[in-house]
Amino acid sequence: MPNFTIKNANLYYSDFQALKDINLNINDKNITTFIGPSGCGKSSFLRCLNRMNDLVDGARVTGKFLLGNDETDIYKISDVSELRKRVGMVFQKPNPFPMTIYDNITYGAKMHGIKDKKKLDDIVEKSLRDVAIWEEVKDRLKKSALGLSGGQQQRLCIARTIAIEPEVLLMDEPTSALDPISTIKIEDLVGNLKKDYTIVMVTHNMQQASRLGGHTAFFLNGEIIEYSKTSLLFSNPKEKQTEDYITGRFG
């Protein structure tokens, strides 16, 4: 069952049309990966899903983006904070705030009104356990998050996002700045998280997309060329362009 339904979506940056008539059903409690060459619009599309494009001067979105069982049109939500609480985002480069690990995790919760110390402690422990770094950092919760390694920082950023219990987790090439071992750890983690969250991930790495499974959309020049089960898309692409891309003929 779809958690996010996108109908006839277009995105313009001033005069430039970055996305053309996108139609997509993103399935609940599953992982959906976006692949495609640089500049194909996959990251731009991801940023439409939590309205980060609102921050870009001249960006304009048309179409319907219906979130959750209540089919809320996210572009009709007046308080964008409500949307971003439901749709979290993890970035390409780990971007922990320059504060303690504890404060990083509780940042979102405090902002959304949780003040009880005990509750916050629980949130910190649960989120860090969910991303499997609790054992590594439990003795240094009050130390700066900037002292962590890149891979740990990225897991902290994921923990920070799931601490506010979103429905959807957007990830914009979350492993492209990490070493192979950290990458595997994040992939394992994402595999576990898809039980509880709807995950949408942009990746440059086709092996990664096929390892993660779920569904995959292939973007090219602002359009979705093909969207199907990941195993199907990689083993038996329907479109010529998809085949050319995944066999490495371009991109």
Binding site: N50, M52, L55, D57, V80, S81, E82, L83, R84, K85, G88, M89, F91, K93, N95, P96, F97, P98, M99, Y107, G108, M111, H112, C157, R160, T161, I164
Partner: protein, 274 residues
């Protein structure tokens, strides 16, 4: 190969020569002041409360402190909020912002005597405040405003965009993001700007000479005319030709600036650790 080594050695010599000259000049100033001033420096001269006019630095220390603290109370909040507006809210394309920015840049380069002249004409004469601490404060408050705005803006610019994005993505609004993420990340730069302004204030003569006056008595209230340490140094050197007391005052001034810098470093380190 040999040629490269020779070039390398020559560059080193040039660099050390340069460093040598700058350090020598700085240290000779320091030593000159120390040698000439130390014999005239006494506990009495610095702290006495009942010494004859001009023979105790206490009134000047008090005036300096009052002017520095009150000026910062005006300029720091104003300067920081202006910088936040310019860097975080204003669109960089807006014409108004461009005009404001270039005015700030021009103002930060204007000689202080011009601020002094403005303060003299406006506060002392037009508003009829006469030579007073308040006229001095309002004059130097305008003078250090551009310094604080520019340095704070630089500090805000240095905060990575990714921090802001991370905060927005968690649902935070602009103001919350600035308060909780951007300002704490920029705090060192902002502190540096404040220290810079304190240094500027302590060393200021021209602007204060024309607005706060040169009276060497302990100030009673903000309407009193009173001299800061630097103004005192100027007056005893020029008007009384008393170099001994001037040198002794210079030592106190330098010690004051040095301890302020140490304090600033200490605060910055503390803030960084947390």
């Amino acid at each position: 190969m040999n040629n490269r080594k020779l070039k390398n050695t020559l560059s080193y010599i040039k660099i050390y020569f340069g460093i040598g000259i700058s350090v020598t000049i700085l240290f000779s100033i320091l030593i000159l002041v120390l040698i000439n001033g130390i014999q005239n420096l006494s506990f009495e001269f610095v702290f006495s409360l009942d010494a004859p006019r001009g023979f105790s630095l206490m009134p000047m220390l008090a005036t300096t402190t009052v002017i520095v603290v009150l000026t910062l109370l005006i300029s720091v909040p104003l300067g920081i909020s202006s910088a936040i507006y310019l860097n975080e809210y204003a669109s960089s394309k807006s014409k108004l912002v461009k005009i404001v920015r270039s005015s700030i840049e021009t103002l930060s380069g204007i000689p202080s005597i011009i601020y002094g002249l403005f303060g003299f004409l406006f506060y002392v004469i037009v508003l009829g405040w006469s030579w007073s601490i308040r006229a001095g404060i309002f004059t130097v408050a305008i003078m250090i405003l551009p310094i604080i705005i520019r340095a704070t803006e630089e500090a805000l610019k240095a905060v990575p965009m990714s921090y802001r994005m991370g905060s927005y993505a968690l649902g935070a609004g602009k103001f919350y993001t600035i308060r909780k993420v951007v300002l704490p990340a920029a705090i060192n730069g902002i502190l540096a700007s404040i220290i810079l302004s304190i240094g500027r204030l302590i060393g200021e003569t021209a602007a204060l000479l024309l607005t706060a006056g040169t009276l060497l008595d302990m100030p009673v209230n903000l309407q009193s005319s009173a001299a800061t340490l630097s103004v005192f140094m100027y007056t005893i050197t020029i008007e009384q030709g008393d170099m001994n007391r001037a040198y002794a005052t210079a030592i106190v001034l330098m010690a004051l600036v040095l301890s302020l810098n140490l304090l600033a470093n200490f605060i910055a380190k503390r803030l960084k650790r947390d």
